[in-house]
Amino acid sequence: MKASVGGYARASSLDHALQLLASAEGAGRVLAGGQSLVAAMNMRLSTGDLLVDISRLSELSGVSDEGDTLRIGALKRHADVGRDALVCAHAPLLAEAVHYIAHAAIRNRGTIGGACAHADPAAEFPACVLALGATMHVAGPHGSRAIPAEDFFEDVFATAIEEGEILTAITVPKAGSGEAQVIEEVARRSGDYALAGLCLVKRDAGHRVSLFSVGPKPILATGAMAALDAGDLDGAVAALAGELDPPSDTQASAAYRRHLAGVLLRRAVARTEGGKA
């Protein structure tokens, strides 16, 4: 099938992009890496969009060190996230996650902002930013706002980004010394979306555990986190089973996903303790 779009405009700056979106009167659609959007348009899951191509806005593609936090531009492509020295040093979870996302050619164009804005429940980056306690920065016609990752992901493909707004950057707290960050997932084939996945961040302030592909949005497993803080891994695995309500689909049953979540938690904890998975 072939895409049917309403029109295309290439934004020359963030302000220009916001103006274009405003002028589209509800039919506007941000085009970043296109790795989800163009696929959806080709399948006619999305038609008549007025495309606002932001992919050339270099102001949205850098990574900068802001002292205690790292600011990652929304247009940073997956492949670049994986090899960025600042990301590898201060947010290694994101760099590790890249290996699980799609295939090399898709990682060459897909962007971290696009992945978060798209909010596929099986995507890695949304769960990573949740585990890291990131802040999502959004610009709109009335200025900018900062949204905690906890409040950003709302439902399947739904986020707190409102009509006319653009996700511009993600800030993540830099990893402290001795902090461990790991991601584990199970997929049928390399590059497939995960059947279930888990991020674990172990900081002085405590553990943070997030899961993906086990519900309509990435989930912060607060029960498991509290049990891990208390040093009770078995309790954490039990808590996890209780706080997840995964879907059954053609890929995996709910029971299998719940089982995998516990397996992934044990693997992740083993890695943070320096053991083998």
């Binding site: 895409a3 163009v38 090399a104």
Partner: protein, 175 residues
């Protein structure tokens, strides 16, 4: 106020080293443009949703899915397809290895496989078979000739690595 949005977009790019100018439909993807307008039918349009890799072409030095990039987005880009890479002999050794290892059966996946494999090989070093498989994991071979394809890529990696070693030794000897 939608006049800033166009349903036809003017683009100027280079394809296989040649300048190309065209007015493209806003929703047309790069592969339809290359096949239907430029007449380069090497890269294939198959699943058109990013799953199979038959459309893999090189854009600005990187292997990308041609079906997931709009032609309108290729303005200013440097695009290489299997035709250009063949004519320039840039991948002659890889193509010879594909023949020698019987890595092309119907050949449908081959143009995409070559572009994807060349990206890995161009990174240098000696990739393991697992790394080769991983890099080609987004390219489906409908004839399932994966072993032979990995064999071919591995042969070229060894041969090119061998050349590097020879060159490095030569350099040392000359110094």
């Amino acid at each position: 106020m939608t006049e800033m949005f166009r349903d036809k977009v003017d683009v100027a790019l280079t394809v296989n080293g040649e300048p190309v100018e065209a007015r493209v439909p806003a929703g047309q993807h790069l592969i339809d443009f290359l096949r239907q307008t430029v007449g380069l039918t090497g890269a294939h349009a198959s699943c058109e949703h990013g799953v199979c890799g038959a459309c893999t072409v090189r854009v600005n030095g990187e292997a990308v899915r041609g079906c997931l990039m709009l032609a309108a987005q290729a303005d200013g880009a440097e695009v290489w397809t299997v035709e250009g890479l063949s004519d320039s002999a840039a991948i002659a050794d890889l193509q010879e290895a594909f023949v020698a290892r019987n890595a092309a059966q119907c050949g449908f996946c081959t143009p995409g496989m070559l572009v994807a494999a060349e990206e890995l090989l161009s990174q240098g070093g000696l990739p393991s078979r697992a790394e080769i498989r991983e890099h080609l994991s987004g390219n489906y071979c409908r004839c399932t000739g994966y072993e032979a394809i990995v064999d071919a890529v591995e042969d070229v990696a060894r041969a090119r690595g061998g050349e590097d070693v020879a060159r490095a030794r030569g350099g040392k000897g000359a110094a």
